[in-house]
Symmetry: C2
Subunit: 412 residues, 2 copies
């Protein structure tokens, strides 16, 4: 992408109404635009990062046997009265049409997927089953103030698993923990994201959250450094030691919940009468698990974790572009050629070809946007027959040959 054609421009100052680092940096860099509190437009660079996250998640869900579907946001009231959540869910947006019919804007999809699954599940032969979607959710957050960390409208991946017994559910639940670890590893927050024991609600002792440690977090967790698991503050009274090793010397940390997984058991199956015939012809309730990740929240968490005073520092697998090519030479010939060459071999390059910006402005923008690799073409590098390369996360600047440069990017 030639930066001269890019829709967005960077801004010196963050919007006055944004207090979180992720919202400030994403706005300044032109990744997102705030339409209102908790509701954001993804602009071209932000959209690319979002798509990278989406594809990482999709790949892991498919590897775990998930079949992708797409359920509606507009949902009949009747489905929500079955579970009682029409009345009890505080943050449910409700819509009435001209004929007086009432709808919910889906904040989650158990009320839709369970009656759907019921149409196709009748025998033990239909189980297990794993369905997922990546779809907008709506929640009436009246005081959304944490940028992408807490939205009124936000993209979420939700997978629902259906099982014949608890052993099968538990096995898949453990498998999904592994899939989540892979996702957060690829997204660049693996090392600081902890499986956290949280309240299981009315149906289970625990649920599990994936909490990314950062001072920007809205949650508080108590971390067992040796087991690398944590306890959510909400569970602290019931669970004052590490659930794995019993260690009582836990460290308090602020964190962002980037994913959660629930053992739903038969809570929703019971409500909708979702059952199956076992090997002996006996009718049994289906057991369920559900597994969520907010895509925008993960994107916001990545920014909270990976930034410095100058801007964002994108991990390679989620960066909008792998390389930021910057021309500060008098002629654009060498940079144009390199841009064409890298593009031709499939390297994603943002090319700062702008003629009306000083080298200083270009470097400042590059640091703010935070692509993982910066390549600079100057009159000096042209004279030396080399290319200047610098990782956003490092200080060292290197001069390398054309072959070294191409090899470096080809591998990724």
């Amino acid at each position: 992408m030639r930066q001269s054609k890019l829709f967005t421009k960077t801004q010196k100052d963050a919007p006055k109404d944004e207090i979180s680092v992720n919202a400030q940096m994403l706005a300044r860099a032109g990744f997102t635009d705030k339409l209102m509190a908790g509701v954001y437009t993804y602009l071209p660079l932000g959209f690319r990062a979002l798509k990278k996250i989406e594809n990482i998640i999709r790949e892991e869900m498919e590897n775990a046997g998930g079949q992708e579907i797409l359920m509606p946001s507009l949902q009949p009231k009747e489905n929500w009265t079955v579970t009682g959540r029409w009345e009890t869910m505080d943050d449910l947006y409700k819509v009435t049409d001209k004929s007086g019919k009432e709808f919910a804007l889906g904040p989650t999809h158990e009320e839709i997927i369970v009656p759907l699954a019921k149409k196709f599940i009748s025998s033990y032969k239909d189980l297990p089953l794993y369905l997922f979607q990546i779809q907008n959710k709506f929640r009436m957050e009246l005081r959304a103030k944490s940028g992408l960390l807490r939205g009124r409208e936000f993209l979420m991946k939700d997978l629902y698993s259906f099982h014949k017994d608890e052993a099968d559910l538990n096995e898949y639940y453990e498998k999904m923990k592994g899939a989540y670890r892979n996702i957060f590893e690829k997204a660049g927050v693996g090392g600081i994201t902890y499986i956290t024991f949280a309240s299981g609600g009315s149906f289970s002792k625990y649920s599990h959250e994936f909490q990314t440690v950062t001072s920007a977090g809205e949650d508080t967790i108590y971390l067992c450094e040796s087991c690398r698991v944590a306890v959510n503050k909400e569970m602290r009274d019931e669970q004052d030691s590490c659930p794995v090793c019993g260690n009582k010397n836990l460290t308090e940390k602020r964190s962002i919940e980037v994913g959660n997984i629930f053992n739903l058991k038969t809570k929703f199956s019971d409500a909708f009468g979702l059952s199956y015939k076992d090997e002996n012809g006996k009718e049994r309730p289906v057991l369920m698990g559900c597994y969520g990740i907010g895509l925008g929240r993960l994107l916001g968490a990545i920014v909270e974790v990976h930034h410095d005073a100058k801007g964002m520092v994108w991990p390679e697998k989620v960066a909008p572009y792998l390389a930021h090519l910057i021309n500060i030479a008098d002629s654009s010939n060498v940079a144009d050629n390199l841009y064409d060459e890298l593009s031709a071999i499939g390297v994603e390059v943002l090319y700062d070809d702008r003629g009306n910006k000083s080298p200083g402005e270009k470097f400042a923008d590059s640091d703010l946007l935070g692509m993982p690799n910066r390549v600079v073409i100057s009159d000096k590098t042209i004279e030396a027959g080399k290319y200047e390369i610098k990782k956003r996360s490092e200080k060292e600047v290197k001069l390398i040959s054309r072959d070294e440069l191409l090899n470096m990017f080809k591998k990724k």
Copy 2:
């Protein structure tokens, strides 16, 4: 995908409340599930077809210079009062939150994109600009009865173009016609989709629709067979001849509007004060075009056009799977191996490995699902050392060798 693991099963009978062919066949084949009138879940096979359509559209929009973004569905009332459409748009869903704040559920996105563009467009140097998204739209259709052809909630691609003058807008408008022709060609409805002159509303003499001729259509058009353009019935009084050649001998046809493009001129720029400084520093209004395609409607139209009494007949580029591999031999060894081999070289295969279905049931399902190529493995084909292949759109059955088979699919 092994069909034994597939979430959905086929149904003999169509749901009683569906009257359109697309809704009946898609439901019977397990491609979609109706949640309520005009609101559908895409099930795994339907979701794959939807994604194919999405990717065809995205590729053409990117080729036309479009930068992809994602705007919210939840939109502040304030934006809609600026254009007056809060009051005048009949099918607008309105939501009120607990604090009394009112929102629209976006039926289109001019009210969001124009104020957004205003933040980044100030000079002629920022133009032209092309932004698009693929996002849910909501329209309060009280009598939705045509399956995917008319939804209350539906995925749409909308591109908005911004220009400094009419010549530039007109040039891009023509380019977009070409992009749309490519999309409908790839989607398998190119030969029967006609550029149709329709009302331009308050701001232009004409808009242009892309109308796919089928008896299932809700629209009526008058077709000039020699120019291959049409006039929408709504324009018939003003335009009783072919707008290209003047021919008055037009043929009446039923059709589905699969896309439309509008020359918006300065209608929305004026409302929001979107202007730019020209080369002489003079402030001028930005001209706009907008270009829509409903993804679900296109999917429904493809089914209306490409089916026979036995089921759907998917064009290759939008088929959920390129091949339907069916094992009716006693052993599954040969079929298992072929499935693995085709999957390994990236061929998308649905593999009917079900042990509890008769050959007759498998063939009937295969015709209903409508994958473009059927490969049958039977004891006879194994004995002959061949594979039986049949195109869904043809009657001829061929026996071919393993190499011929692999070569056939490799090319695609």
